[in-house]
């Protein structure tokens, strides 16, 4: 995966580029989308805006899980630990008198800081045992939070500091918070994958032993990804707390968050930035149409995810990309022989 445009090649020259078409198209298209989504609460109905809020929270979580599993090969089924801890970090700072919206980056920092030492325990286990261990971490975090009377124990606590806003202003602010968090999660992932760390991750994914022996710092790359993913899920948990706004341990630490972020990423496309977004869109369409059927949307979604994992492991976006050679957010390099100039 190393890309060095100036290196001589045996069969003439290689044409190496990130994008398959003019990046200008992407920039204009994405720019328009960003403007549209930022203005959405003043354009769309209130109910659609609230669906979009949940959509952005899921996109944030799924993007983080994708970074973990799709790029660093770590199947965490315990990311709800950081969703919950992010929610409780915001609750803590809000009880101490801070504006909840200001606490979002703080919640992300707290989760990253907790995740760092945790990796030293988790990284002692591999594969499936690593996965279950992440769940133990989530369970432990839930149990510890549940015993703290300051947070209302198992019954939870109302997030203070939101009552000074009018209901419409509050909804608009909540919407913008979820959207901005999702935006930064995607942008951050994109920049991270285009950085040196992205190269290390790609080499690790292709062949870990070769990457290690070439001097790639595989373990610290993994650690970095785990910490970033924890921070991202923490931010998602923080906006989740703001949007609820009653923070209850069994709901913010629910395994359902892990299930949703995993399924949307698998269906949308593991290892592509667009995948979790595509998966989340499908998820919300399905959820809205199956609203009356209770738990069935998760059953259907889980079944589809299993089918996709076995027969189309790169997901819907992966299949689409392979078919049409389209990438909206390119992080890799396309290498073509000769001076193919298309």
């Amino acid at each position: 995966m190393s890309a060095n445009p100036s290196s001589p090649s045996p069969s003439g020259s290689f044409d190496i580029r990130r994008s398959t078409h003019s990046p200008l198209l992407n920039v204009i298209g994405l720019g328009a989308l960003v403007v549209l989504l930022s203005a959405a609460p003043w354009i769309v109905s209130q109910s659609l805006a609230s669906i979009l809020m949940n959509f952005f929270i899921l996109v944030t979580m799924a993007t983080m899980w994708n970074l973990l599993a799709g790029y660093a090969g770590m199947v965490s089924i315990g990311q709800q630990a950081f969703v919950g801890l992010g929610a409780y970090a915001t609750l803590y700072f809000a009880i101490k008198g801070m504006n909840p919206f200001v606490t979002i980056p703080l919640a992300a920092l707290v989760c990253g800081a907790i995740a760092f030492p945790v990796t030293f325990l988790l990284f002692r286990l591999r594969g499936g045992y690593f996965s279950i261990a992440t769940w133990v971490i989530a369970d432990t975090a839930l149990l510890i939070i549940g015993t703290i009377a300051f947070f209302g124990g198992g019954t939870g606590h109302l997030l203070p500091g939101l009552s000074n806003l009018s209901p419409t202003a509050l909804t608009d602010a909540e919407y913008l918070a979820t959207w901005i968090v999702a935006f930064f999660a995607i942008l951050g992932t994109y920049l991270l994958l285009r950085s040196r760390l992205g190269l290390v991750l790609a080499s690790m994914r292709d062949n870990e032993i070769a990457a290690r022996s070439s001097g790639a710092r595989v373990t610290s790359a993994r650690r970095m990804v785990f910490v970033v993913a924890a921070a991202g899920c923490g931010a998602a948990g923080s906006v989740l707390a703001i949007s609820q706004p009653f923070v209850q341990p069994n709901s913010v630490f629910s395994l359902q968050w892990a299930a949703e972020m995993i399924f949307v990423t698998m269906i949308g496309g593991l290892g592509t930035i667009e995948g979790p977004i595509v998966g989340s869109i499908i998820f919300f369409v399905l959820q809205q149409s199956l609203q009356q059927q209770g738990a069935w949307y998760l059953i259907i979604f889980g079944t589809v995810a299993m089918v996709v994992a076995i027969w189309q492991p790169r997901g819907l976006w992966g299949a689409f990309r392979q078919r049409f050679h389209v990438e909206l957010l390119p992080v890799g390099h396309w290498v073509r022989e000769g001076n193919a100039d298309t």
């Binding site: 045992y129 369970d139 432990t140 069935w296």
Partner: protein, 290 residues
């Protein structure tokens, strides 16, 4: 005396954890995969005992005679289809697929049978216990489960070391390619290992239903305990898992004695401490990690 009781109750529940865990351990040892739906298989077995046994006019106490063979067959079939398909991709896919399977099973049970707990009816046996002293009671059912766990682990150990099929399983676990070159059909051997894993965890699920109530969400939490027992005892050691289960059980009982809220937390903390100071567990081989 209270602490003696804590110790005894810990040992009793530890046997159950080991029974629950041995299939998980076996599948990891042979196929290098973790079935994240392992706990949910146990729950389905418990539900089968509750809802199917009366249909077949079998007393629920004896339901395991019917249910365990069904699950052995189901294990073989699921291994040869769903799990083998994922293994053919890579171990990573197996995790995703079995996680999906787990969530689907749990939510199906919720949708069909609601979140209410179910018990395997064992009549008056549930209340009977050996009255050792004022504070020490040993319930018959817990003692039976512990004995069953020891018998199952012993039988499994004997099976793996003495029989031809057992030797094949170990051969495939050690070196799949070499075993294959010597004529072993590794897919079939994988199927047998899965059949054993499903049968033992089905037995554990029914035992759980006898001791307490099974709910759709019981699978996950018991998978955690089973996993903790395996890691505490040392990955790859059957008797280590029993010791791990007993230690986990004691830790939980000690925690519960201090404050009922600390029961599970104490077990988790023991697990994290062991992971920190002795990552290959008490009896594990370091090679199990590479």
């Amino acid at each position: 005396m209270i602490w003696v009781n804590v110790l005894i109750q810990g040992i009793l529940v530890g046997g159950f954890y080991a029974l629950f865990a041995c299939g998980l351990s076996l599948m990891f040892g042979v196929m290098k995969v973790i079935n994240l739906a392992h706990g949910d298989v146990a729950v389905v077995a418990g539900y089968t005992a509750v809802f199917l046994a009366p249909q077949l006019h079998v007393a629920e106490v004896w339901s395991f005679i019917v249910v365990v063979p069904i699950f052995a067959v189901a294990g073989y079939v699921i291994q040869r289809t769903l799990i083998q398909k994922s293994i053919d991709r890579d171990p990573f896919t197996t995790l995703l697929v079995t996680f999906g399977f787990s969530v689907v099973i749990e939510n199906l049970l919720l949708a069909i049978y609601s979140a209410n707990g179910q018990s395997v009816n064992i009549g008056s046996l549930i209340g009977d216990s050996i009255h050792v002293s004022n504070v020490i009671y040993v319930s018959y059912i817990s003692l039976t489960v512990l004995i069953v766990a020891i018998v199952v682990l012993g039988a499994l150990q004997l099976f793996l070391s003495k029989t031809g099929t057992g030797r094949l399983i170990r051969a495939v676990a050690d070196d799949r390619e070499a075993a294959q070159l010597s004529g072993a059909n590794y897919r079939h051997i994988f199927g047998i290992a899965a059949a054993i894993a499903f049968a033992t965890v089905a037995l554990a699920g029914i035992a759980y239903g006898m001791m307490t109530e099974i709910a759709p969400t019981s699978g996950g939490i018991n998978l955690l305990y089973a996993f903790e027992s395996v890691v505490i005892g040392g990955i790859g050691s059957l008797w280590g898992t029993l010791v791990g289960g007993v230690l986990l059980g004691i830790a939980q009982q000690v925690g519960a004695q201090i404050n009922p809220e600390y029961q599970v937390l104490a077990g988790n903390l023991l697990f994290l401490i062991i992971l920190g100071v002795r990552p290959h567990g008490l009896f594990g081989k370091k090679s199990a990690f590479s």
